[in-house]
């Protein structure tokens, strides 16, 4: 199985993914794929299961049926080393979730040192470079509580990047930010995308999706209603639910 995957195949491949919480079915047969270097956006009203899908892809939650493969490895395989899988996948949350007792630099350095066992000096150099890249040079020794929401979110992005993931998952990472700081985080993500990082984003920033995404999926109540390149989806949506949603948010 593992050996058959080649980089020209999708990094993430979801097939008919279903997920229930008790009697509530949240994902009702989701199929999507993300190829290397692609930027995929998932949009849709809240409660439609976007966060759940992202969490399932990172094996933070088990799925009920269907298949999720990351680089050809079945995420739902019970024998799977979940930690090894997650090393390939970076994840950024809506609420940043930085470790409050560590400085920005330490937040970025922790996982490579303790999880990957890399040398401290080497990790520190990389962490400083990453913080500079997300425009936070000079904030290395600040604690999360001393940083603004936008700055914290960029530290969180640097923290994920420090693990050198093959794909980054973003779950409404700008939803908790005030309008002025949304832009600085979006710029960071855009730069990442331009560097060739594979990104799967759940977002409410329609302009961002339109400009940066290669492909947009519109979800509603656990199903993918419609998907396509942003030019078509945003201007010529076929489904009535998509049209209604877009008319509300645009």
């Amino acid at each position: 199985m593992v050996a058959t995957w080649t980089p020209d195949q999708p990094i993430v491949q979801c097939v008919e993914v279903r997920k229930s919480f008790g009697a509530l079915e949240v994902l009702k047969g989701i199929s999507l794929s993300v190829r290397k270097g692609e930027v995929i956006c998932i949009i849709g009203p809240s409660g439609s299961g976007k966060s759940t899908l992202i969490r399932c892809i990172n094996a933070l939650q088990p799925i009920s049926s269907g298949s999720i493969q990351i680089e050809g490895i079945e995420v739902t395989d019970p024998r799977l080393d979940k930690l090894a899988l997650r090393r390939k996948v970076g994840m950024v949350f809506q609420q940043y979730n930085l470790f409050p007792h560590k400085t920005a630099l330490q937040n970025v350095m922790m996982a490579p040192i303790h999880v990957l066992g890399q040398k401290r000096a080497e990790v520190e150099a990389r962490a400083r470079a990453l913080l500079a890249k997300v425009r936070l040079a000079g904030k290395e020794d600040s604690y999360p509580g001393e940083l603004s929401g936008g700055q914290q979110q960029r530290v969180a992005i640097a923290r994920s990047l420090a693990m050198r993931p093959d794909i980054m998952l973003f779950d409404e990472v700008t939803a908790a930010l005030d309008p002025e700081t949304v832009k600085e985080v979006l710029v960071t993500i855009r730069e990442l995308a331009e560097d060739g990082m594979t990104c799967l984003l759940v977002t409410h920033e329609m302009n961002f999706a339109r400009e940066v995404a290669d492909h947009v999926y519109f979800t509603d109540r656990g199903v993918i209603v419609e998907h396509g390149p942003p030019e078509t989806l945003f201007t010529a949506a076929k489904d009535e639910r998509t049209q209604r949603f877009l008319s509300q948010v645009l």
Binding site: R86, G90, N97, F99, P100, H101, M110, A111, V115, S160
Partner: protein, 280 residues
């Protein structure tokens, strides 16, 4: 230093009334101060009516204070050791409470509840009478003096209370911290030691100090099982001075004062830390 039995037995009942372990810490030092004050007042009036040829209560206290203070230092030593032992064991028990393994978590829960809801004095008796006075490891016989056993006896409730503090503090960390750690591939153990416990320390400090103040006050219970700590010595001093009734209040008042001066600052500091951490 064998003293007259009847006097000793009278003194024995006293500590239980003065330092009940379930008493709220924040009130007891204050009431102790008031009690102390009343005791000294009563003593001076009592003494004023007696013959002036005998040592005054103050002179008696000054005369015996080196011995009494050494006894008090012993109380502190026992409390510190019990706290150390109880904290280490309590951390382990607390982590077991948080374990993903159901069986371990349930077993630890029973242990915690058992030791949290048992009177300290009863636990003390159990340890005194169940643990042998010496143990033999690899042909080496290690004696277990009473005060060591008493320390273990106090460490047990400390362990259970610390376990509960650890569990509560770790539970109070938002679950999103677990998710963040998980998504960065930290193992559960790494998450606990690198991410959860370090951010909990502040939260755990005030309740932990609260437990310490309780232990410090509870060490006088060791007098009941014959450890020569301050209260035992106080009773012996009282007997040595002829068991004069007017010495009773000043001598025990002195013991109260010592404990008050030791525990009250700890409680003040605890309250200050609590306030500071709540603001953050």
């Amino acid at each position: 230093m064998k003293t007259a039995e009847p006097v000793h037995r009278l003194a024995v009942l006293l500590p239980y009334r003065l330092a009940p372990t379930r008493m709220s810490v924040r009130i007891s030092p204050l009431s102790a101060a008031i009690l102390c004050f009343c005791a000294v007042m009563a003593a001076s009036t009592a003494w004023a009516q007696t013959a002036p040829t005998m040592l005054s209560p103050l002179q008696v206290i000054v005369k015996w204070s080196p011995l009494l203070l050494r006894g008090f230092a012993f109380n502190i030593l026992i409390s510190l050791l019990a706290m150390l032992l109880g904290t280490v064991a309590g951390l382990g028990l607390g982590l077991a409470l948080l374990s993903q393994y159901r069986l371990l978590a349930t077993a630890s829960w029973f242990v915690t509840q058992f030791f949290r809801n048992a009177p300290w004095l009863v636990l003390l008796f159990f340890v005194m009478f169940l643990v042998p006075f010496q143990i033999t490891i690899f042909n080496t016989t290690v004696p277990l003096p009473d005060w060591i056993k008493a320390t273990v006896g106090f460490a047990l409730p400390v362990m259970a209370n610390v376990a509960e503090v650890v569990r509560g503090a770790v539970r109070s960390v938002p679950s999103t911290q677990w998710e963040a750690a998980e998504s960065l591939s930290f193992t559960r153990r790494q998450t606990m030691w690198l991410i959860m416990l370090p951010q909990c320390i502040k939260r755990m400090l005030p309740p932990w100090m609260n437990i310490y103040a309780l232990v410090a006050m509870a060490t006088v219970l060791a007098s009941i099982v014959g450890v020569s700590e301050m209260l035992t010595l106080t009773a012996q001093v009282h007997a040595a001075e002829g068991g004069r009734p007017e010495l009773f209040a000043p001598l025990y008042g002195f013991a109260l004062l010592c404990f008050f001066l030791y525990c009250y600052p700890i409680n003040l500091w605890t309250a200050r830390l609590e306030r500071r951490f709540r603001v953050r």
